[in-house]
Structures are given as structure tokens and as C-alpha cells.
């Protein structure tokens, strides 16, 4: 859902809007309806070579269920990776503790 605010061109189907002293602009109801823009929505303003592109950012709940199957797979992978990392960390920690103990006892320690 994007509106391009083009510079230096006014076509017959376009509507005029005035920018206030604080840089605010009224988007006509017809365009708001056409592009599904609701009060409280966030929009992104992106400069392009043709003008300013006004892009509505989808809401949090519009993101719900957008990647069925993938999200669950990610969640499972994350848990597996975490488990492996913690096991690795524990192993390294035990090896270090044993090395220090041997060192304290005056045993020969491999570098």
C-alpha cells in the first residue's frame, strides 16, 4: 500500500493538499480509504527520484500468521541451537576447571 507524492506534476485525477507551517498535510478520505490508512497507523516516508513515497507500515496483528510453518521451525531451531551452545559452554567450563585443578596440584598441564 503505497502513495507516491510526486513533485512538479498535477494530473487531473490528483487532489491538491496544502502543507502547513509545521509540515503537516491532510490526506483526503478517499485516498485513506483506498489505501486502508486508519488513525494511529504508522507510515514510512521514503524519498525517491520521482517524489516522496508514503508507505503504510502493516500493524502488529497483520503480521500474525503471515509465515505459517516457518515461524514454528524457527522457534524449534532456536531451542536446539541454544541447547547445543549451552552444552558447549558447559563442556569448555568443566575443561577449564579441571585444568586449573591440575595446575594447582602441580601436574603438568597441556597448553
Amino acid at each position: 500500500m503505497q502513495i507516491l507524492i510526486a513533485m512538479n506534476s498535477v494530473a487531473s485525477h490528483m487532489v491538491m493538499a496544502t502543507i502547513t507551517g509545521r509540515g503537516m498535510m491532510h490526506i483526503p478520505a478517499g485516498l485513506r480509504k483506498q489505501f486502508g490508512i486508519q488513525p494511529g497507523d504508522k507510515v514510512e516516508l521514503r524519498p525517491t527520484k520521482n517524489g516522496i513515497l508514503l508507505d503504510r507500515v502493516p500493524t502488529l496483528m497483520e503480521g500474525f500468521g503471515t509465515l505459517p510453518g516457518i515461524g514454528r521451525r524457527i522457534a524449534i531451531e532456536l531451542l536446539e541451537e541454544k541447547k547445543a551452545e549451552l552444552a558447549q559452554e558447559e563442556k569448555a567450563m568443566r575443561a577449564e576447571v579441571n585444568r586449573m585443578r591440575r595446575s594447582r596440584r602441580g601436574e603438568k598441564v597441556r597448553a
Binding site: V57, T59, G69, I74, I76, E77, L78, K82
Partner: protein, 135 residues
């Protein structure tokens, strides 16, 4: 006092998956009935995993969606002093990212929403836990 939830990466993943167990919490946050908190680390991890599995564009879109939503993305930095102490305490149980989440949850008195069963019997002041297991 309003309810506060601290979400881990797994729960963000279940949200895009459309898991019905996550919906009530997200609806509550989206309506403004509760505060939802995500750490910058969790969001980074989420976007990285999304990029790996669904592509860069999807990772950007979902990140933008979260950042512009009512979910509050908190910087980890102020919580790191507490996080390392928690990591020392729960060394083999939680990752450093988990401990940052735990620190955030403790400071803000949150309920942690997580997919990680290791949180199930956690006993820390000011924190409660809801595990949403994945299989």
C-alpha cells in the same frame, strides 16, 4: 498496574506462525491493554533467523512491523549489569540473551512469554513465566 509481558525470540516466531496460544497476548498488547517488551537482542535474533529462512525482505518487513507497533523494543545496555549476575547464577540453564530478557523482566516486573521449557520452574523475584512449548 497494567500487565507487562517480556517476549522471547521463540514467541515472536510463533506470532508470525499464527500460533493461537500467542494471539490473546498480542491482541492485548495491540489494543493497549498490556505492555509488550522485546529486547533488541531478541529482535535481532528474530530478524537474523527470518533472513535465513524467509529472506532479507521478510526480515526487514517483520522488523519494521514490530518496531512501529505497540511492542516496546528496549536497548539491552542498561540491563547488562544485572544480566551477567543472572548468567552467573543460572550458568548452564540460560544463554546470555535469556539473562538479558530475565533482567528486563525483573526490572519491569513482567511475565515472561517463552517457548523455552528451562524457564518453567524459574524462581526470581518480580517475574512470572508462561511457557508456550513447541514440538
Amino acid at each position: 498496574m497494567a500487565r507487562r509481558y517480556a517476549l522471547d525470540t521463540g514467541v515472536l516466531s510463533l506470532h508470525v506462525d499464527g500460533d493461537p496460544r500467542v494471539r490473546p497476548f498480542m491482541d492485548e498488547v495491540a489494543r493497549g491493554g498490556a505492555e509488550g517488551i522485546v529486547t533488541d537482542l531478541a529482535l535481532t535474533e528474530f530478524q537474523y533467523k527470518l533472513c535465513q529462512t524467509a529472506g532479507r525482505k521478510m526480515a526487514e518487513t517483520q522488523g519494521k512491523r514490530i518496531r512501529s507497533s505497540r511492542l516496546r523494543v528496549v536497548h539491552s545496555s542498561p540491563y547488562l549489569e544485572l544480566a551477567w549476575r543472572l548468567k552467573c547464577k543460572h550458568r548452564s540453564r540460560f544463554s546470555l540473551a535469556d539473562c538479558v530478557l530475565l533482567a528486563v523482566a525483573q526490572v519491569h516486573a513482567c511475565r515472561i512469554l517463552t517457548t523455552d521449557g528451562a524457564f518453567a520452574d524459574l524462581r526470581e523475584p518480580r517475574v512470572s513465566v508462561q511457557v508456550l512449548p513447541v514440538t
